[in-house]
């Protein structure tokens, strides 16, 4: 498998107050692949994900050291405009959070923020991305209905489409299926497999089977340390570290 790095994390350390949440992480995240971050809960998976779009910034008393390079540019550099960084990274959170507006406006929110006013083009964008997450046929007749009226699974797909509409390069998923029923989860997973043609995808998951189904590349974190990383088949079939083996067998959780 051919891997090109898209994001290069170098010596990343994150502290919450005195708690050392991420310890000296150095890893490359391959482009246009699905990377799964696995590990027991509380091991820093989500922190790592939220470092990528600098949402960690909004935590009180957080200190971040190191570099995260995207196209050779360090996004942790305080001089960098953080809205631009975040625009490149679409986030799909654990629970779907539709914005308090209609389905249409949810998708159009991002493009409008970035200066698009043309009604016709907005229509195109809304349709295009709703199709991309295969939600279009379900909602095309009620685009002006409140987004909160959709089912959870539909909401999550809507959130995905909303993220795509600002044209990110990377999609970040923070246990994106954990609030959904199995059928909706399957739906989201299928979308991810399609989307990796165009986007780099990073997901945090605590479901090993999901990681096996989706991931091309795996990072295994344990108490803030990156224990092992590599191609999914390698890590799952033939883990180098004892700790990883234990985790995959299910002895530690």
């Amino acid at each position: 498998m051919e891997l090109r790095p898209h994001v290069s994390i170098r010596n990343l350390n994150v502290f919450y107050g005195n708690e050392h949440a991420l310890k000296n992480i150095t890893v490359d995240i391959p482009q246009k692949k699905i990377t799964a971050i696995i590990g027991p809960s509380g091991c820093g998976k989500t922190t790592l994900l939220r470092s990528l779009n600098r949402l960690v910034d909004s935590v009180d008393g957080v200190k971040v050291f190191g570099q995260i390079l995207v196209h050779g540019q360090d996004i942790l550099d305080p001089k960098i405009e953080v809205t631009e960084v975040r625009k490149k990274m679409g986030l799909l959170s654990q629970k779907p959070y539709p914005l308090p507006m209609s389905i249409y406006d949810n998708i159009a929110f991002g493009p409008r923020l970035h200066g698009l006013r043309d009604k016709k083009r907005l229509d195109e964008i809304v349709e295009r991305y709703l199709r991309e997450v295969s939600l279009w046929d379900e909602v095309k007749d009620r685009l002006q209905a409140p987004a909160s009226k959709l089912s959870l699974g539909q909401q999550q797909r809507l959130c995905l489409a909303r993220g795509l509409a600002v044209e990110p390069e990377i999609i970040l998923g923070d246990e994106p299926t954990s609030a959904l029923d199995p059928k909706s989860s399957q739906h989201i997973e299928a979308r991810f497999l399609e989307l990796k043609e165009k986007y780099t995808i990073v997901i945090v998951t605590h479901i090993l089977r999901q990681a096996r189904r989706l991931a091309d590349y795996v990072l295994f974190l344990y108490f803030g340390e990156l224990i092992e990383h590599g191609e999914a088949s390698e890590v799952f079939e033939n883990p180098k570290e004892a700790m990883t083996r234990e985790y995959i067998k299910g002895t530690i959780s």
Binding site: P5, Q31, G72, Q73, E81, K87, P111, L116, E169, Y199
Partner: protein, 333 residues
């Protein structure tokens, strides 16, 4: 957005990115224009942050502004008399230049105390009943009604006090104790105030009780506690900080209530000697003396000092209650 700012290392790193294609689809404006637009958005954000911060600082300093301004205005009288004399003298003869605030301070404290003593037990029992015992019908009707009454202006309560409470005290309560009272008294003011703060205390306490998880009650009930025991040992304990907050809210209202009290308290500048005697609380003094204020020397200064004293009492009380609240919360954890 702008992926074309290439360095060598970057072009090695990445192929053309999807955004290039989609940008073509959207037919978005040139990068320079976007940067300009982006710039103006960021400037707007910075400007907004700065002005919001300014407003926030301004309003958080308002309390000092008020105190300072009132102090400034009451300096003439403070220059003439000592603070101790003003606070503890009982002689109020503005025409002779004697300004003793003691009767008014005591009047405020008496009236407020009576109001709290009446209101707190009644309100707590009602709030417990409404949230723990009452059938749904009662609850659904009583709560909006109580909220509605929170909106009735204080003058109306004063009116009602004159109409009902004052005669009640004059004709029934005072004779029952073998004394005479005009009805305009500490008790009347306290009762009217109590009625005024009913809705406030009930509303907040019902909300506090409602926020206690049902599982906690179930746990107590399944250990064989009666409904009342559950309330006494679990619900009330858990709700204590909230209840204190509710009472403080009601008290704050009671301290400063002017018109309703003014109408029924009797307004005699003497330290109250009995519940059935008249009182003259600070707010009533300020409101009542407005007309004469500019014709008697130092009077305006004295009234603004009265406001300052009232402010000080309220502040003291607020800080005290906050300290208690912190302690209670710590005890529960």
């Amino acid at each position: 957005m702008d992926t074309s700012s290439s360095s060598l290392s970057q072009s090695q790193l990445s192929q053309p990115l999807p955004s290039d294609q989609t940008a073509a689809l959207h037919g978005q404006p040139q990068p320079a224009l976007i940067r300009l637009l982006q710039g103006s958005r960021l400037i707007k954000d910075k400007l907004a942050a700065a002005s919001m911060l300014f407003l926030t600082i301004g309003s958080s300093l308002m309390i000092f502004l008020i105190a300072l301004q009132l102090y400034q205005r009451s300096r003439p009288i403070l220059a003439m008399k000592g603070l101790a004399e003003l606070l503890f003298s009982t002689s109020w003869r503005p025409l002779r230049g004697e300004f003793g605030f003691f009767p008014f301070i005591m009047g405020t404290l008496w009236v407020t105390a009576v109001a709290v003593i009446i209101a707190v037990p009644l309100c707590l029992l009602t709030a417990i009943y409404l949230s723990e015992y009452a059938p749904r019908m009662v609850r659904e009707w009583a709560r909006p009604l109580v909220d509605l009454l929170a909106g009735i202006p204080s003058v109306v309560y004063g009116l009602w006090g004159i109409l009902v409470i004052v005669p009640l005290i004059k004709n029934y309560i005072a004779p029952a104790f073998g004394t005479f009272s005009t009805g305009y008294s500490v008790l009347a003011a306290g009762m009217v105030l109590a009625i005024m703060i009913f809705p406030v205390i009930i509303h907040v306490s019902v909300e506090v009780f409602g926020s206690i998880p049902y599982e906690m009650r179930e746990a107590a009930l399944s250990l064989g506690a009666t409904g009342w025991q559950t309330v006494k040992y679990v619900v009330l304990r858990k709700a204590m900080p909230g209840i204190i907050a509710a009472v403080v809210l009601g008290l704050s209202r009671a301290f400063g209530e002017t018109m309703a009290v003014l109408m029924v308290a009797g307004n005699v500048a003497r330290v109250p000697s009995s519940l059935l005697g008249p009182a003259y609380p600070l707010p009533a003094l300020i409101a009542n003396s407005y007309g004469e204020m500019l014709s008697v020397p130092l009077y305006d200064s004295a009234l603004l000092l009265a406001s300052l004293i009232l402010l000080a009492i309220v502040l003291l009380f607020n800080i005290l209650s906050r300290l208690i609240l912190i302690r209670v919360e710590r005890n529960i954890q």
